[in-house]
Amino acid sequence: MKKQRLPRTVAEFMAYAWALEVEAADRYAELAELMATHHNREVSELFAKLARIEGKHRDQIAAQMGWTSPPDAAVFRWETPEGPETTDYGELHYLMQPWHALKLAEHNERRAVEFFERFAAARVPAGVRAAALEMAADEREHVRLIEEWLSRVPPPESGWDEDPDPPAVAD
């Protein structure tokens, strides 16, 4: 796995931040469709909302940087298997509850905080450090918002993943 290159300019750093949001938003959107296919409407809507939120973050970064044509997200290589805010496909369940989805989102935001704090602590120019700290603070705020959202969502009851219907065959 490639070692992540440390950004040398604010623009480079913000490109990382932008890529992070793009991947996160795209993944939430994909998961929203996936959960809709499996008739889990509540979680589908929740993922769709998260996709919109991350999309806003992404657009905010682009606006802030004055980019007319943003950098290509695909070329960035994370040290982790995927971007820090990208939900792992393997963490899903077709019967998952909104609470589960929010826990995933919370986990994503915490990882984003750690990601930016690592940049801030690394050997980077002062401008980059400042931008990293700012992004970390933003992400901490996101963590807080998710936690607050979580407090309004009931935790799943035991047996949430029990389904008396056996699996079906399609092919």
Partner: protein, 283 residues
């Protein structure tokens, strides 16, 4: 070269990975590893700036064989176990296309086992991606050739007791020119493997560990067991064979990148008109 290394910000390419996905939404279970393969394939195709019209994804039968419909390229969803044959015919008849054959461990190693052997021997320039979840998912949970011998199932209570099929070893001894193991939990790493495989001439084989959330939920632990970059790519087959003696089944990376020339049909330089063949019969 990685754009991030160069220090410049590259403009967005005309096609991003999403342009390589079709509008058809996968019906795989949430939690299925195969989502990672769609992602990785799309990323790899975007990185290589392939035209979707010049790529064909060929599959057999099984959950993972549904992939062709989810990509924006041409697709061929054939019959159980015969994807490599169809892909071979397609590539030999249309060498200008990039042919990627996909499927699962049942489709590829059981009913498709014979074709797997000979595809490795034949070394036609194409890439074979097997999504291995060590189970027959589509038919609801029977053991596959890569299932552990003691895994309990309805068709084989108390386990099959059979030694697991060894796809990388078989591929190596049969003549595959590029052999790798990937993991769907690392789509970016997998995208790199796919790109290398497609670029590498001859028959490229990637075994992709792809957990089945519905029939093998314990495979969620795989992400803790996999060892990224555990293989050091070598063009030396005996070295690769010795490395396989230590294989854990979760070692990732490129095992072997050989130098056999890709299959090329032999034929005369000068072409004739069909009517000239008549001379063989004329009295």
């Amino acid at each position: 070269m990685n754009e991030a290394d160069s220090g410049t910000i590259a403009p967005a390419v005309l096609r991003g990975p999403n342009d390589y996905k079709s509008d058809i939404k996968p019906v795989w279970c949430p939690g299925c590893g195969d989502f990672g393969v769609v992602n990785a394939l799309a990323k790899a195709m975007a990185k290589m700036t392939l035209e979707p019209k010049d790529v064909a994804v060929v599959s057999g039968i099984g959950c993972s064989s549904r992939i062709p419909a989810y990509m924006a390229s041409y697709g061929f969803h054939g019959i159980h176990g015969r994807a490599l044959a169809a892909g071979t015919g397609l590539k030999v008849a249309r060498p200008d296309l990039t042919v990627i054959v996909t499927g699962g461990d049942g489709d590829g190693y059981s009913i498709g086992g014979n074709h797997f052997l000979h595809a490795c021997r034949r070394n036609v320039d194409m890439t074979y991606i097997v999504m291995d979840n060590r189970v027959y998912g589509m038919t609801k949970g029977q053991p596959s050739p890569t299932t552990e011998p003691d895994w309990d199932s309805k068709l084989s209570p108390d386990g099959t007791g059979l030694r697991e099929f060894q796809p990388l070893v078989i591929a190596l001894t049969s003549g595959a020119n590029f052999i790798a193991r990937g993991f769907t939990g690392d789509p970016n790493g997998l995208a790199e493997l796919i790109e290398q495989a497609v670029r590498h001439p001859g028959f490229s084989f990637i075994e992709v560990l792809s957990p089945c959330v519905t029939f093998r939920p314990e495979q969620k632990e795989w992400k803790k067991l996999v060892k990224p970059d555990a293989f050091k790519p070598t063009p030396d087959m005996p070295r690769a064979a010795r490395r396989m003696l230590r294989d854990t089944g979760f070692d990732l990376g490129v095992l072997y990148a050989g130098e056999r020339p890709a299959f090329a049909p032999r034929g005369p330089r000068a072409l004739r008109a069909p009517a000239e063949l008549e001379a063989r019969f004329t009295l």
